[in-house]
Symmetry: C2
Subunit: 227 residues, 2 copies
């Protein structure tokens, strides 16, 4: 099977597999779908089907080679190539993201950070000087920016998204509490932290009917696979 028609939901799971194989490096040479399913609290079937979308990474009677899968999944996710991103909105969340060590580890470099508040312009954040947002469009025209991250207040977010779109930025990661609509040309991931807090709040109030992990060991990391 080629790279066409891979369900979106499989793509969303891919980073988790990557993370798992990354953590396994050095610890073991190989792992079977069943062992991995136990680690990840999923099913072996799902792992095999998910991975098979990208080619035959496993070996019958052996399993998956940890080193190989780590490399292959990294390539699939674009971790092997340097990628540049910019942050618009140099508030607390923007600063936090600018300093995420994992982003760097994974090959993403901060190319620029922008704001409209004169009092923060010129400050050094994550090794980069904050510039005025007026210069954003121009900056994007001169630098190869793959990802635009929005950490502005809600009001500013759509305007920034439009600048990103016009400049041909590859994709948007939006943290402003507004939904930015993706298009075929411009994938967008909207991350609404408050939404996650609220759905968690609901689940807390209704925890009785939570997933029926058998109670023998409440905080265990025991897997619930049946296969």
């Amino acid at each position: 099977m080629g790279k066409k028609g891979i369900p979106e939901i499989v793509i969303e799971r891919l980073p988790r597999y990557y993370r798992c194989f990354r953590a396994l490096r050095g610890k073991r040479e190989k792992i079977s779908s069943h062992e991995l399913a136990a680690e990840m609290h999923t099913s072996a079937s799902q792992i095999r089907l998910d991975l098979s979308h990208f080619g035959g990474f496993g070996l019958q009677g052996y399993g998956y080679n940890v080193e190989e899968l780590h490399t292959k999944l990294g390539q699939i996710l674009g971790v092997d190539q340097a990628q540049y991103y910019v942050i618009v909105g140099a508030g607390r969340l923007g600063r936090a993201i600018a300093n995420f060590p994992v982003f760097q580890e994974v090959g993403f470099s901060l190319a620029g950070i922008f704001d409209i508040d004169d009092s923060v312009i010129g400050q050094d954040i994550g090794g980069v000087r904050v510039s005025h947002a007026d210069g954003l469009a121009r900056f994007l025209g001169e630098h190869p920016v793959r990802i635009g991250i929005i950490t502005t207040p809600a009001e500013a977010a759509l305007g920034v998204a439009e600048i990103f779109r016009a400049a041909g930025v590859g994709g948007i990661l939006n943290f402003a509490p507004v939904d930015i609509a993706p298009t075929r040309q411009l994938p967008v991931t909207n991350i609404h932290l408050t939404d996650r807090l609220l759905s968690l709040s609901w689940r807390i109030m209704h925890r009785e009917q939570e997933q029926d992990v058998s109670r023998k060991d409440v905080c265990s990391l025991q897997n619930t696979t049946k296969e």
Copy 2:
């Protein structure tokens, strides 16, 4: 239909409806499922089925009353009651979250913030003094904390989760790049920002086969509903 057996996926969508009705307040008195679907880029069927899980909020021939739905959805999500949360990990991300205005707007109050770094202990973050994490278990025993937010490095996260569990905290929102397993007693939402960045990276590299929004108007917010 009662509150039993509502699919998890519906719950995850609920905050989005809430956000939408919140934004509509004052602007209009009522809205039909079709109009709302256009706003939200979903289908009217899905909206009607989702909302019907919680009771008959709509009125035939009229639609949904904005004010009423805002109130009802707020109640369902627990926004009407004061809820306390603590943050463990007073780094940049922890500070950012402590200052999220939307969390407060929605009824969540920061009860405490903890770290192990002596140089940050005693600092004021979001109106709360940073305490040493050694005092976390005791603090939880003395205060009614609904949600525990983890913004520590990966290594510390499981230990903190265990303290939360032992203290009977209602639920966990985890930002550390580790999966904390939920149990029936303790719902957990793991938010892996790097995972979202990586799946976006894949989508950028494969944007050709993105969802086929018709190209007539690339950046439009035009709805794609068919019903």
